[in-house]
Symmetry: C2
Subunit: 339 residues, 2 copies
């Protein structure tokens, strides 16, 4: 068992897009478990868009990371010391380890993993992102065969699951991504019925025209991962009784341009005239269905029936840049850091 | 039976707020019923905010009134000639008569009324507005005793029903209206727990502070009748898992000021962080529950357990001005024209 662990802390709050100077590396002694706890040596750490919100000192659904505190996040690793019932050295587990090589966790906040699946899947396709897609569709999308669904950030671990589940339910699925390579993956790897590269359009109007072509019957469900231009393009194409699941607004995480016309009245008119149903979702409200998710989707992933992509950075030193890049869409698939 | 009838047509499309020149009066022969039809002599005509939308040539949930066409609307009256099964001369009925002294209707589009209740109630408390409130709360508000509901245009036939149903369900009800007299009625006549006069505040910020005082536990349900400043004031006070029922946006019917900051990103953030549920509703989607409504609420109105206010203008000649005034909030209670 090593003596020292490394971790990444929040050095200062970002001003817009995060930069590497917003993070700091610290070393400390590997912790020793207290009664009921385990210590984990992390093999894989998760990077997720929600982490950007935790860097701000703004009241949100979860507390901010404090300056000097370890960046929050999920990790996977093996137990190296246990004083918690049900956990032994060598067990593969996941939990909120933070951005760190090692973590001490209460046993009841850790979850044992099936050793037969790649450990990293617990962070993506079978972790929080995959579950977000599954439970959000179940709770808020009311999918009907023959309908049309659109989702952006569609090669990401949420969007790609949304698209595949929609297609499996008999919907027409339209994926939007940034860049030609990702757009190619949408149809080839994830089976979207249509794929659009939002970078190939000058503005929302151009994207909207392409979306209208791709959705000849209009859009019944819009899964909102991004906000911004994609939202602007999609809204007028929503069908009567359409549903919007608001899961993230990554386009606005680095700051929002509030100039220009007020788009709220237009949205409100659409909500009324088209009787839209808009629901915000945070996955933390839905953990009680996580077991149902893994029991339903786990076998499909094991059988290769659900595709997923991972973008793996190597080493804790690479983590801040991987995060900064992810917020700009530089990754392809679920962003993971392997230690 | 008179020979001539009078009606009001759309003379031209309004530019912003309607003016009297947008309407024209026409005379015609009183129609004769064809097989399956009735002819009604109207005693009461309804004025409702939705009619403003029908004057524009904009795609919406219902067709526009054509230039030269009779203004659309509901009326109550007695059958003066019938070739429809189930209807006899003298029956009290309601249907989409338009702004007219007489109307020819298919029997299956008319509804017989209980002669023991005042005929005008079929246009307000027991008509479309009352039903809108009842069915909207049933379908989209998920009211829980102990929660707080806010509604504007709260002396109106929708808002006053929303408030009374919320209070009866054990919620704290906050009503917003324009002017001291209406604000007084909110507590005295309709039993709202708190009442605010939106005209007594300079801006959304002032109204928000008063709303925050009136809603010490935050707002769980916002019934949207108006849009504009009230929406801006309310949104930041919504509780996690709050519900917004978008029923109307009367503040924006005469034209929308799109200048100034874009408020859509702020809304979207609230939807996400607070997991809001926003549903647009149009009463026409819900007619299948109308009988349930009249059976539930009719006896309560007859017993005086539900209060309602009517603002009655007299004669077809007064109808355009009554409509123009209603859009500016000049009426108190359900606006009706008695012929």
């Amino acid at each position: 068992m090593p003596d020292q662990m490394r971790a990444i802390t929040l050095a200062r709050r970002p001003n817009g897009d995060p930069v590497s100077e917003d993070f700091a590396f610290v070393e400390a002694a590997v912790p020793v478990p207290e009664e009921g706890e385990i210590v984990v040596a992390c093999s894989h750490l998760s990077l997720d868009p929600y982490m950007r919100g935790r860097m701000d000192d703004v009241k949100s659904y979860a507390p901010s990371v404090e300056i000097g505190g370890i960046m929050t996040g999920q990790g996977v690793g093996r137990v190296i010391a246990s004083r918690a019932e049900g956990f032994s050295e060598g067990d593969l587990v996941t939990g909120m380890t933070g951005w760190a090589s090692h973590a001490r966790l209460p046993g009841k906040e850790a979850r044992a993993l099936d050793d037969r699946l790649p450990p990293s899947t617990a962070l993506g396709v079978l972790g929080m992102p995959g579950f977000t897609a599954w439970v959000g569709l179940q709770e808020f999308a009311a999918m009907q065969a023959g309908e049309t669904l659109a989702v952006a950030a569609a090669t990401g671990p949420v969007g790609s699951m949304v698209g595949q589940l929609a297609r499996a339910a008999g919907l027409r699925s339209i994926g939007i991504a940034g860049g030609a390579e990702k757009t190619r993956l949408l149809t080839e790897t994830f089976g979207f019925d249509a794929a659009l590269d939002h970078r190939s359009f000058d503005d929302a109007r151009g994207l909207r025209a392409a979306l209208a072509d791709a959705a000849p019957d209009g859009i019944d469900i819009y899964w909102e991962n991004v906000g911004g231009t994609v939202l602007e393009a999609t809204l007028p194409l929503m069908n009567t009784h359409g549903r919007i699941v608001v899961c993230g607004t990554i386009a606005w995480y680095g700051g929002v341009d509030l100039s220009g016309p007020d788009k709220l009245p237009g949205l409100w008119r659409a909500v009324l005239v088209k009787r839209l149903s808009i629901n915000g979702m945070i996955v933390f409200d839905h953990w009680h269905r996580f077991r149902e998710f893994t029991e339903t989707i786990g076998p499909k992933v094991a059988a290769g029936e659900i595709a997923y992509l991972e973008d793996i950075a190597h080493g804790l030193d690479a983590m801040p840049e991987a995060f900064i890049g992810m917020l700009k869409g530089a990754n392809t698939g679920k962003q993971i850091v392997a230690l």
